[in-house]
């Protein structure tokens, strides 16, 4: 089984490749990247006008299985991922029950294999039942295939426990992904604290709620030598802490979500509960810092923090609605629209943020087109204009603040393990 992808702009930062080239896939692996490849009996994919890159990786999604299959299953999430241009996703463990130990990890892997869509890599609970009290069986989870450890959604309030989690996980070489938040400072806050929260009379979450936790987590990473990945960084000063940590050689990486680099807290003014998430949408100054960090490489990855919620739960008073929005099917479009087309990042920069780096952080074999690597590829049209219509989402949930947005840039063809799952915008 061969696939020849012809005449696309092939971008692979892992090898410094950027040019109009052909890619030959054979037996589920990348066989060759070159300017003249002849291949008999190959399925030919014409990629003229498209970017051809290692499959995109969303390293931060919430699938709701087990527990809330009405909101998302591993299968619907993996399908939404393909529609959004992702060949791999890493799912957070805050399900009911939590994905924990080898049993939980195997459950996800079996479901994902049966679905046969995007690859789904489980991130396992750091603490038992994500309660922040006792360490979960981290080694068993990693042995079964977990790519990282996290209590995402629930900050680990106990600094000593966070220290142990980083220390213990360090022997496996896997990252601890931190949802860095001081729960007491956030209190019952529902949006960014500042001028807009004051006007709206909604309880605020100050930037410092994230920053004191980022500072703590980085200190503990330096103390333990453990690998720390900070999820959904949303403030300028958090980025300063990351910069300092990296300068000192600490093993710290971080990600930024498309909604945080696109929207400010002004979006909350309509009381639309699809503007409610954690961390909250911040002010203009922070947005500028986030965009700058994505430009300079201080931020390692773009991740969606895809968080499906049912319509009944979101269609409530602002205080009562749950935190989180879906992102798998808008992430690439927003990154192209808001960062590439505004001249903030290059296409190679985008591939680095959405494929090369997240694959490296999670230790995946994908994220590159080196011969022998898995034939996971994304072909996208950076100029294709489209309108976000959540009624057409393949995710089981519709909670997006970007309904009706006109975006420039969309995934066209997605190949996972040598199988074409989406071709010319149509799911196969």
């Amino acid at each position: 089984m061969k696939i020849l992808i012809k005449d696309g702009r092939v971008i692979d930062p892992s090898q410094g490749i950027d040019g109009i080239l052909h890619v030959l896939l054979k037996d589920g692996q990348v066989a060759e990247v070159g300017s003249s490849i002849g291949a008999d009996e190959a399925t030919v994919v014409d990629a003229k006008g498209l970017v051809v890159c290692p499959g995109l990786v969303d390293m931060h999604v919430h699938l709701r299985e087990p527990g809330r299959e009405d909101e998302e299953t591993i299968e619907t999430g993996a399908r939404a991922a393909v529609a959004g241009g992702f060949t791999s996703i890493a799912c957070m463990p805050n399900t009911e029950p939590a994905i924990e130990g080898d049993e939980g990890v195997k459950f996800v892997l079996v479901k994902a294999r049966d679905a046969g869509l995007a690859k789904v890599y489980p991130i396992a609970a750091a603490t038992k039942a994500i309660k922040g009290e006792l360490l979960a069986e981290i080694g068993a989870a990693i042995g079964a295939g977990a790519v990282a450890i996290s209590d995402d959604g629930m900050p680990i309030g106990n600094s000593s426990l966070m220290r142990r989690a980083l220390e213990y996980t360090s022997m496996f070489g896997k990252p601890v992904i931190s949802h860095s938040e001081d729960p007491a400072l956030s209190g019952r806050g529902v949006m960014n604290e500042g001028r807009v929260s004051t006007i709206l009379g909604l309880k605020g979450i100050p930037n410092e709620s994230e920053e004191v936790a980022v500072a703590r987590d980085i200190s503990l990473a330096r103390l333990t030598g453990g690998r720390l990945h900070i999820a959904h960084v949303s403030t300028a000063r958090s980025l300063e802490f990351v910069r300092e940590a990296k300068a000192h050689g600490a093993k710290v990486t971080c990600e930024i979500t498309p909604h945080h680099f696109t929207l400010t807290d002004e979006a909350v003014k309509t009381y639309d509960t699809n503007t409610k998430m954690k961390p909250p949408l911040r002010a203009e100054r922070d947005i500028a810092a986030l965009r700058h960090a994505l430009k300079t490489g201080l931020a390692d990855a773009v991740a969606s923090d895809h968080a499906p919620h049912s319509e009944e739960e979101k269609d409530q008073e602002y205080d009562a609605a749950p935190f989180g929005i879906v992102g798998l099917e808008t992430s690439l479009g927003l990154t192209l629209n808001e960062l590439y087309h505004r001249g903030i990042i290059t296409l190679a920069g985008l591939v680095r943020l959405m494929s090369t780096n997240p694959a490296r952080i999670l230790g995946l074999t994908s994220g590159t087109l080196k011969p022998g690597s898995p034939s996971d590829l994304t072909l996208f049209d950076p100029d294709k204009e489209w309108v976000v219509d959540e009624s057409k989402f393949l995710s089981a949930s519709r909670n997006t603040p970007f309904s009706g947005w006109r975006l420039k840039g969309k995934a066209v063809t997605v190949i996972v393990n040598g199988r074409i799952l989406m071709r010319e915008g149509e799911m196969l």
């Binding site: 500042g194 709206l200 009379g201 009381y271 009944e312 205080d319």
Partner: protein, 313 residues
């Protein structure tokens, strides 16, 4: 001329002209409550529901009486007696009430934005009777009306709002209202109860009531809720009163004709001493009296009534 809005959700987005036209219309309603037969037929056949998810005596009674004096049919629902305790959502509760053919909904809710949420979900006009820490537009309108009755034009006057600004919807609505009518507003309280970024909406901040009082034409005192103590916003009621309680000593430096307002209910001896609350500068009961006229005007205008023009008044 008609009032051009379908709901009254807050004062933030009302223009000076809109606020003044509501106040002028309210002026023509004051006299009705002074008649032996306190009733006019302008809302006959219309049904208004007062849906209150928070306890209220003054505001609810005021709305009910205003509705009755306009001859509307009224039903008042308190949260404790509604389906909310059975787990029904706010939207379902409101949709069910609307299905019974009501013409207007007055709502109070502890969640900021709840009236906006309902205004989107319902076809009938919605009046915000207080939402969380966001707005309480009819309270501010009656405060503006009272202030204008007592001191005349508000342009250039100095208004001090004292107390728990952070949690106060009355403060926010009054800030929009007074600044829009040309007054200068200073908010005063402990830093823990001053919301971040409040200066950016056009007020100044002071932590020293003694310094503020002599400069004021209007002093508005807010209620201190005792639950703020357990949340550590200040250490004791005694200490609060010492710094921010309005008493004779602090008032001795006030302008002679300053008016003292309070939206109620009073914590006598905490944020205000009885001698000030009941003293010659207090207009607290006038606020309540004029509240009725202001709410009649709002109900009348949202039901399609004509604005009273300045000339006819």
């Amino acid at each position: 001329m008609k009032f051009e809005r379908s709901d009254l959700l807050g004062l933030e987005d009302l223009t000076r002209e809109e606020i003044e036209s509501i106040l002028t219309t309210a002026g023509s309603f004051v006299e009705i409550s002074e008649r032996p037969i306190k009733k006019v037929p302008v809302m006959r056949g219309l049904t208004v529901v007062n849906l209150f998810f928070e306890p209220s005596t003054r505001t609810r009674t005021s709305f009910e009486l205003a509705e009755k004096r306009l001859s509307a049919d009224t039903v008042s629902i308190a949260a404790s007696t509604s389906s909310a305790v059975k787990g029904e959502t706010l939207k379902d509760t409101a949709k069910n009430i609307e299905a019974m053919g009501i013409d207007m909904l007055v709502v109070r809710h502890s969640a900021s934005g709840a009236p906006h949420f309902l205004a989107k979900a319902l076809d009938c006009p919605v009046i915000n009777a207080g939402d969380g820490a966001h707005e309480h537009p009819t309270q501010a309108l009656l405060d503006l009306f009272t202030a204008r009755q007592k001191v005349g034009r508000l342009d250039g006057l100095r208004v001090g709002i004292v107390g728990d600004i952070l949690h106060s919807r009355v403060a926010r609505s009054n800030i929009w209202g007074f600044t829009r009518l040309g007054a200068k507003v200073v908010v005063c309280g402990p830093p823990t109860l001053i919301p971040p970024g409040i200066e950016s909406i056009g007020v100044t901040v002071s932590y020293d009531l003694n310094e503020v009082i002599p400069t004021l034409d209007i002093l508005m005192v807010l209620r201190i809720q005792t639950e703020r103590l357990t949340q550590c916003f200040f250490p004791s009621l005694r200490e609060y009163s010492e710094f921010f309680g309005v008493d004779r000593k602090k008032m001795s430096r006030a302008k002679k004709d300053v008016i003292v307002m309070h939206p109620g209910p009073l914590n006598r001896g905490v944020e205000i001493t009885p001698e000030i609350a009941d003293g010659p500068n207090s207009v607290i009961l006038d606020q309540v009296k004029y509240g009725l006229a202001v709410r009649m005007a709002v109900l009348y205008l949202l039901s399609g009534g004509e604005l009273t023009s300045e000339d006819s008044h």
